[in-house]
């Protein structure tokens, strides 16, 4: 890592409007070498539009983008030579083999001859695809297709990697391995921007930005975001009678929502409510109906809770 002042991806006041609709509203993004930056948000929050602009696929309405020191708006094609991109769905050629796809991609980045062969062999090896190189890409299982997508993005040794929901639909084991690889790549100094809607994946990122209605509404390291005090207290109730408690809790005025979660109940209270009031209600119900309460304690905040709090705050 050189210095914190030289990010590989830098977007300033980036906006994109489609007619009256503002899909991305003056966002700032900075991703440094070796950093994994996560962009989170619901569908329609503007993640995809943002990543499309950062990759040079969509010209911004306003703002500046610099990728690996090249102005992406004015010199899009030169800047695109510095980036690797993995799309959400498989978008290489299903009617070409793994090897043919990689050779095509290498050629598109100007690689030829020995250099092309070396890079293709190296990425095949890195992504464990060597014994599948003669297989038609369209017949590969999803996990392999995802790896092929990453292989194709790494052939030209880009400084910056964009991953648009790279693990959607991939099984957990494959996701785990995929992330290990992402870390290896980041350790080698690549700047990585990834969009996801898996909260557990978001925790793997060095830094996170949450998007809502085109704006970045929260940003920081996952630990910092987790430490933010929650305006709405959450209690965790462990009980064999969780189903009954769930029904009861719906009607209590202090309760904002009840979320069944791994055999437990997460009971979220309205802002400013005293958790003691809820404890009293639970005790009362347990005695009256002879229900068992195994444990009741304040919940460990999860990233999702932090984000829900932010989103609700913004909805006003």
């Amino acid at each position: 890592m050189k210095t914190d002042t030289a990010p590989l991806i830098r977007a300033e006041d980036l906006s994109r409007r489609f007619g009256e609709f503002t899909a991305v509203d003056r966002i700032q993004v900075a991703v440094h070498p070796g950093e994994v930056f996560g962009l989170l948000g619901a569908n329609g929050a503007g993640k995809t539009t943002a990543i499309r602009m950062l990759c040079g696929m969509l010209p911004p309405t306003d703002g500046r983008i610099e990728v690996a020191g090249v102005d992406m708006v004015r010199h899009a094609r030169r800047a695109r030579g510095q980036i690797g991109y993995v799309a959400q769905r498989f978008s290489l050629y299903g009617d070409l083999t793994v090897l043919e796809n990689l050779k095509l991609q290498a050629g598109l980045y100007g690689l030829t001859g020995v250099r092309r062969r070396d890079r293709v062999d190296a990425t095949l090896h890195l992504l464990n695809l060597t014994d599948r190189q003669a297989v038609m890409a369209g017949t590969l299982p999803l996990g392999y297709q995802q790896r092929l997508g990453l292989a194709a993005a790494l052939l030209h040794e880009p400084q910056v990697l964009f991953l648009d929901e790279p693990t959607s639909g991939v099984d957990p084991m494959a996701r785990q391995r995929f992330w290990e690889l992402i870390y290896t790549l980041a350790d080698s100094g690549i700047g990585i921007l990834v969009t996801t809607h898996y909260m557990d994946e978001a925790l793997f990122c060095d830094r996170l930005a949450l998007m809502q209605a085109g704006r970045i509404v929260a940003e920081g390291e996952p630990e910092t975001l987790l430490r933010r005090p929650l305006p709405t207290p959450i209690l965790e109730l462990d009980s064999p009678d969780a189903v009954i408690f769930e029904r009861l809790a719906q009607d209590w005025p202090e309760v904002r929502e009840v979320i069944p979660h791994a055999g437990q109940l997460r009971i979220r209270l309205h802002a400013g409510t005293d958790p003691a009031a809820l404890r009293a209600r639970i005790d009362q119900a347990a005695t009256a109906r002879r229900l068992t309460v195994t444990a009741l304690h304040p919940a460990t905040p999860e990233l999702e809770d932090a984000f829900v709090a932010v989103l609700e705050e913004n909805d006003g």
Binding site: C55, Y85, A87, S91, Y93, D95, E100, K103, L104, L108
Partner: protein, 360 residues
């Protein structure tokens, strides 16, 4: 790296990819070879305006020596197969059923009135016209001969370039034009829309590839399929159907190249208006059909209303057909058709520019 060299590398790998995809896909191989052969067989063997062995009902109510002599003369021409029927009612049933295409009737008073009646099945107007014409000509001719009269004037008919006025040398070269039109418009539109549908185009555009490089590779591949079909059909036309080839192969290839600019442009334009391959196919059909009808492929342009004739000036197929028929049948010097080549070049450039503007 030198940007020019990088661009050439990209074009080369893109072109390689296009050919791999075209040649590997069984549907594409089918599309390149079977429809041209099928059209050749259909037009080479089946389509004809000529009248051969037309089935004719004869109702001879006069039954005189003259009528028998006339009928014998008509039968001797070889163009008609005569069926003798007892009355008009039976004959009209035969016409209704489509068993005969015309009725030739001699009334009982033929010897005094000297009138023969021909009733044709007008539901097929073109054959009806040909049959009534040929039949009455045969009747007139044999009447004059049997009366020992010379016709008032002698008309000496001769057709240049196609002595027997066969339909085959007229239709078969024209198939080249329609096949090239259909194949290249549909291939261009479908393969571009497919790349958009599958997201491969967008993926391609995050690499340093320029949109134009992508389109050039795509069109070059489709154009070579078009030229392959030109050669395939030409060889079969000459070797199998004995269609003469009197002109210059360079003239044919130059005309094909200029025509391809228009068809590739039209294909690209269609792709820019289609979100799915089905839409592209349907749109292509709506564009191709009127182009063929208004080209002179089957219906002479001279017979069209004047306004429509003006419209055909914008139809590149019109010029390409003229050049192809010339190359096969007439063999006039290439320079003779400078206007046609020029019009195809102009229409080609206009279509390409328009479509490139659309896809930007």
């Amino acid at each position: 790296m030198n940007p020019m060299r990088a661009s050439l590398i990209r074009l080369r790998v893109l072109l390689g990819k296009e050919f791999l995809q075209l040649l590997r896909d069984p549907r594409m191989r089918f599309f390149m070879i079977i429809p041209p052969l099928f059209q050749l067989m259909a037009f080479g063997y089946a389509a004809s305006f000529d009248v051969h062995h037309a089935e004719i009902a004869v109702v001879d109510q006069a039954q005189t020596a003259t009528t028998r002599e006339l009928l014998a003369a008509v039968a001797a021409t070889g163009s008609f197969t005569l069926h003798y029927l007892p009355d008009v009612a039976t004959a009209s049933v035969s016409i209704d059923r489509g068993q005969v295409r015309a009725l030739l009737r001699f009334a009982p008073d033929f010897e005094t009135k000297h009138t023969a009646q021909i009733i044709a099945d007008g539901s097929d107007s073109n054959s009806a016209q040909m049959i009534t014409g040929q039949l009455s000509q045969a009747l007139q001719h044999s009447a004059q001969t049997s009366a020992g009269l010379d016709p008032p004037i002698q008309v000496e008919e001769r057709a240049w370039f196609n002595d027997n006025l066969d339909d085959r040398p007229y239709f078969v070269p024209g198939i080249i034009a329609t096949i090239v039109l259909i194949t290249t418009v549909i291939l261009t539109a479908m393969t571009i829309v497919r790349e958009r549908e599958f997201g491969t185009l967008e993926r391609l555009l995050v690499t340093p590839v320029a949109r134009l490089e992508f389109l050039v590779a795509k069109m070059a591949a489709v154009a070579s399929v078009g030229l392959f079909d030109v050669l395939l059909i030409s060889v079969i036309a000459v070797m199998w159907f004995d269609v003469p080839f009197r002109g210059n192969i360079v003239g044919l290839l130059a005309g094909s190249g200029l025509f391809l600019m228009s068809t590739l442009g039209i294909g690209l334009l269609i792709s820019s208006y289609s979100d799915t391959q089905q839409q592209a196919q349907l749109l292509a059909f709506f564009v191709i059909q009127p182009m063929v009808v208004l080209s002179g492929f089957a219906f002479p342009i001279q017979n069209m209303p004047e306004g429509v004739q003006w419209l055909t000036w914008l139809n590149p197929l019109r010029y390409y057909l003229l050049i192809i028929r010339d190359v096969f049948l007439k063999g006039s010097p290439v320079g003779t058709h400078g206007f046609e080549y020029g019009m195809m070049a102009a229409l080609g450039i206009a279509t390409l520019l328009l479509s490139l503007r659309r896809v930007k």
